[in-house]
Symmetry: C2
Subunit: 429 residues, 2 copies
């Protein structure tokens, strides 16, 4: 049966809340709403629950899940240089990236996330893990000036991206992107090459930008310009692109990025935990930038839970702006869904309405911590946790139903991750 | 059988992590650890899990759970004057407070919390709901200068506290406290009466203090002094006492509160969401104040989940202090357990060690979002959610086992809360 009708007490439909309706799905596409169970549909009843558009994580590093909690409460450079980079150098391989990405896919499905914009290496394994589990992704191939186990120089990294792009060109759910890592690891010349490649193939360029005050100082000293100035001169703001972090910006830079409707992937929790600072999200939004929401990798954050990230984003950016009405529950949900779909260039995605992709999740209101219910959107953001998600659908297909993952052997995936962690721990002793 | 032995992969014992041990409990008290399952004990095996001391919430308003999510994304005064206070005026009664507190008790048990310091009215119902469900509490009777449905003037509020104190004097798990609401609702004269009453009966005094910049201005204008100056002159810092919020303090006030080892109940999430500001927690800690962790009421926050509150406290106060090593996972756990026990004057509580009360919870590491495990304390704070708690014990007695609440009819409690919410919604239409 290709047609399904999912009942819920609340459905976030076309940016409003509809109560006690059936969401009608024909194959991959939403048909509309109905008051009564229609004939000829597979009927699913979700009592005391709400249906929301699936969440879209616009900046993460999926294979870092196996490093989750390996090193915490450390300064950024100590964390990177003494823990993360050595672990990556020692452990990264196709097999590691495959296993770790599958673990992240389980977490995404359990958090109501349909789509991730990933930035990493060994990207073929990331694309295949997302595809295997029915998720969607923009798989960004990392670019650095220097060699790693993955490639030797910028041209080789770009060649890897080109190969992956040609392999996945016809894939309906996997887009390929090029991801120059950051202004402090990629020269302006190599940024130009990346912008050129993305422009030529109409790919989204994705990069870390202005994450720390240290970066600003370092880049100014090296080039006599800010990271944003380098980015603007590279033409990156004038092609399809999205920029992670964007914490340290001048008012002029904010104005520029607003005028150019730049897509931003703020990572509030990561910025707090690694003390990068508070991004000027309100100013960016007011200036015209397109704000989304992202978790960063599970090694920094220490999860890829978009529900928690929406909550933190709302609360922290209210406080920073001294405005309790800013970053409302409805606003952060929009950032995590329709704004994100727009930023990633995903057509007819990020909202539940007729003709749109049937990507959604079901949030249960059974738990004491989400009882009683006045406003389901407020509950999603301020009271619910990832475990309140019971069902996740992508293109009309259930990836999880009644908290059971249907698309993979989750136990085996978790066991593999545990075996990697055991090896990592043993190698340190 | 009075003796139980609970196995876990990790036990947070005497401020360190012990691996693959049995926690031995004789009646209400911890006996120690064992490597092997001992004879004569009821054996519980918690595989892929950790045992932590139960959490202690040092400032909340338990009966506000039924108002959870009723009004959000509003300025503090709009929220209070147009939503919360009218709802309280209309709905508060013994029955409402009983039902709403029981709902909060369910949430506390599900979040691994053993103890709450409550500040509200109709306090007899709060004490009985906590006691009925096996939880511990310090039940603070609110005091205001003006009349409510609960009492008419400060003397009457204090009389209510006195009556409750005499009723619960012999209760092993319920302490009674007096809670003058705040410097903007209670005159200095009435603070003096409260300090006098608490001193005479050796009760903990609890009050909101320096929560908003608005309060500071208002109090200065009215009395020519700051709230902290009024508090200090009342003698409240020199008796058993604990102060909620403490956001807006001068450096001199921080020094004074540090010298006097004042107990602080910071409410980071509430302060963010209601844009009260960022409390100077690091300065207070460095000065010598005793920092705990609190959720505030579920109407502001919108939960009473201490695990989420630990995470937010750690991340936000790292960022505010530009120090990734500050407010480590271990530090916030200590704030939420042993510091809190000290602040509330709970003897032999807040740690797992020989002779201490067997108050603890079990955190499962089965979920993909907490896989794999390197450091269980880091996972508790940075990766876990309330639903990862599977068991909560207070004084050796399981209140929840394998996610089943054993001490109350949870479904009936949730249904009663839903019926109240339905009435509240209907009354607005």
């Amino acid at each position: 049966m290709n047609k399904i009708a999912v009942f819920a007490d609340f459905i976030h439909y076309d940016s409003r809340i509809e109560e006690n309706k059936y969401l009608l799905i024909d194959g991959e596409i939403i048909e509309g709403l109905a008051d009564k169970a229609p004939d000829g549909y597979d009927i699913k009843e979700k009592k005391n629950a709400a249906i929301f558009p699936a969440l879209i994580n616009t900046h993460t590093h999926l294979p870092m899940s196996i490093f989750r909690g390996m090193a915490d409460d450390l300064p950024l450079m100590d964390w990177l240089q003494n823990h993360i980079w050595p672990a990556e150098t020692k452990w990264l391989s196709d097999e590691f990236v495959h296993d770790a990405t599958l673990l992240s896919c389980m977490e995404m499905i359990r958090c109501g996330t349909s789509t991730a914009f990933d930035m990493y290496f060994f990207s073929g394994e990331i694309a295949s893990a997302l595809s295997m589990t029915g998720l969607k992704g923009v798989v960004g191939v990392g670019v650095l000036d220097f060699p790693t186990k993955f490639a030797n120089n910028a041209d080789e990294y770009i060649k890897k991206a080109s190969d992956l792009y040609h392999r996945y060109k016809e894939h309906p759910d996997i887009d390929v992107s090029l991801c120059p890592h950051a202004p402090y690891t990629v020269s302006p010349e190599n940024y130009l090459k990346c912008v050129d490649f993305c422009g030529k193939h109409d790919l989204v360029l994705h990069t870390h930008l202005a994450e720390t005050a240290f970066e600003i100082g370092q880049i100014k000293e090296k080039y006599g310009k800010t990271p944003v100035e380098i980015m603007n001169e590279s033409g990156a703001f004038d092609i399809r692109s999205i920029f992670a972090h964007c914490v340290h910006l001048t008012d002029e830079e904010i104005e520029l990025m607003g005028e150019k409707n730049v897509n931003i992937a703020p990572c509030t929790e990561s910025n707090l935990k690694l003390v990068s600072g508070f991004a000027p999200l309100k100013k960016l939004m007011d200036a015209g930038a397109n704000l989304t929401i992202a978790t960063d990798g599970a090694a920094s954050n220490n999860d890829i839970d978009m529900i928690g990230e929406m909550a933190t984003t709302a609360k922290v950016h209210k406080a920073v702006n001294h405005d309790a009405t800013a970053f409302s529950a409805e606003t952060v949900l929009k950032m995590a869904t329709s704004n994100a779909a727009k930023g990633l260039g995903l057509g007819n995605t990020g909202e539940l309405k007729e003709g749109y992709k049937a990507d959604f999740f079901v949030l249960s209101f059974e738990d004491a911590g989400v009882t009683p219910v006045y406003n389901p959107v407020s509950h999603l953001v301020y009271s619910a946790g990832r475990h309140d998600v019971t069902d996740t659908y992508v293109k009309g297909k259930p990836l999880m139903e009644n908290r059971q993952i249907l698309v993979a052997d989750e136990e085996e995936i978790k066991n593999k991750a545990r075996r990697w962690a055991k090896k990592i721990k043993e190698s340190k002793n």
